[in-house]
Amino acid sequence: MKKLINNADDFVRESIEGMALAHPELIKLHLDPNFVYRADAPVANKVAIVSGGGSGHEPLHGGFVGMGMLDAACPGEVFTSPTPDQILAASKAVNSGAGVLNIVKNYSGDVMNFELAAELAVSEGIKIANILIDDDVAVKDSLYTQGRRGVGTTVLAEKICGAAAEQGYNLKQLRDLCRRVNLNGRSMGMALTSCTPPAKGSPMFELGEDEIEFGIGIHGEPGRKRLPLVEADEITEMLARSIIEDTAYTRTLREWDENKEEWVESEITDPNLEKGDRVLAFVNSMGGTPLSELYIIYRKLAQICSEQKIQIVRSLVGPYITSLEMQGCSITLLKLDDELLKLWDAPVKTPALRWGV
């Protein structure tokens, strides 16, 4: 293992300490339990947005803390979800009284830890909404799996909901908005190489020089299938087709019902993409793929969308939700309406995403 680290056990702490030192005007750091939060939190009368997950996906989530996005982020160990005490402490630190929206990626660990945290928060009188992001079309059905994973759409949901919270949306409105973003976003990813978690010291899986993993998540787990390496245009074609041709997807999601004070399950179905739709196209690096290659992917994606009469009206290209140093990329298409578009364009000021200010 060759990494710029001091000691594998200090990896997460030293990394978030460095981030806080680099952006003192935007964020503060709390250690033990670990969370990054807005320097000006709690923001009066604003619903707070708290997210979190395993580390190793930087800039997600800590890099998105700041005006117009998250109020707090809870980093777990590498690829391991944060713990309920962490999430509870973060929620308390940023709650203005207007409530807290948790944005949670659909991984069993994240889901269960956020559920426990939400139960604890509610018992302390904090109003909570909890929305799962499950946008990964590599997972075909929810009957035989934990369901689709939360990937690229998470970044977009954090941005859009963060803007809405800033504009005064209440907790219920934010919950509905976040659910809507999730339903309209779809992603697909692939890997050229594996990645090495510092504590493990060796690659997560073996991948030959001429092979790719297709349909990966963001935790260095192997994907749906292993395929021979082909050129970028063909890979883009495969990624884009999986998203565009994905049909309506139905799953049962658990959300906190603040009136009943319990978890309720409801069946939710995504609409599929159609000709004439306006989308935000997000081409993401898994950490080790340079921007130059991402633009080669974007170039082909733009061509495909135009052939399919899908209109790209906004784009995001870069490393925003990564798997350590893994080479590879993911594509996310988020169907936009006027409201989502306006919220996407609203000002944001975080370590990793900043415009309009």
């Binding site: 160990e77 944060p82 713990t83 559920e115």
Partner: protein
């Protein structure tokens, strides 16, 4: 023979040791079908349990198990943190205030713990999870105890059931947790959570039998 508070404390110590010894093994199992952190996660959690044991000597078994639960919930993370945390939390409420456990009370403890894992994780038997080791063990233990078997006898069979359940996860396709994303590729691998559950139950059996052997040698009934 009742299970004493000291035996519960010794058990937790033994769990910490066996998890630590099998940390790499559990992590390797998780690397094959998960994200290579199961051993690391559990070891981190139980290492934080041990320093608290000496302060718990004066507390009842319910309080001891509740402390273990809170420690695991805050230190393990992953899926296994809330799952084992909920296991020990429910187990603790089943034995609130107890200084010793009859075999029936131990059966209640195990069954309450398993019910907690089911409620939190929503897994079914055969989904290739820790439940495949935990659930048959708790069921057979309760059955045998109800028939009048001793704690040690029932526990021996329970651990055997856990071991069988653990091995039976090998050909299964995972339907819950991270491994489920692999679909059929999860076949042929033993589930890490079922393995740690087996180790935890085996540590209980070993703690209790080593004590009962020692007692026999000392002429204690």
């Amino acid at each position: 023979m009742n299970v004493t508070k000291q035996q519960i404390l010794d058990w937790l110590q033994a769990v910490t040791q066996t998890i630590s010894e099998n940390k790499d093994y559990l992590t390797e199992l998780d690397a094959a079908i998960g994200d290579a952190d199961h051993g690391i996660n559990l070891d981190r959690g139980f290492q934080k349990v041990v320093p608290q044991l000496s302060q718990l000597e004066t507390k009842d078994i319910g309080t001891i198990l509740k402390t273990v639960s809170m420690t695991l919930i805050s230190a393990v993370g992953g899926a296994s943190g809330p799952l084992y945390g909920t296991f020990f939390l429910r187990a603790s409420t089943a034995v609130t205030g107890k200084e010793e456990l009859t075999s029936t009370e131990l059966a209640d403890l195990l069954q309450a713990g398993v019910a907690g894992v089911i409620q939190r994780g929503k897994a079914n038997l055969g989904d290739k999870t820790m439940l495949d080791a935990l659930s048959p063990a708790a069921t057979i233990f309760a059955e045998l105890v109800a028939k009048g078997n001793t704690t040690v006898d029932a526990l021996q069979q329970a651990v055997q059931a856990a071991e069988t359940g653990m091995k039976q996860t090998i050909p299964l396709v995972a339907l819950k947790g991270r491994a489920s994303y692999l679909g059929e590729r999860s076949m042929g691998h033993q589930d890490p959570g079922a393995t740690s559950s087996y180790l935890i139950l085996k540590a209980l059996l070993e703690t209790i039998t080593s004590d009962s052997k020692a007692n026999k040698m000392n002429g204690v009934k």
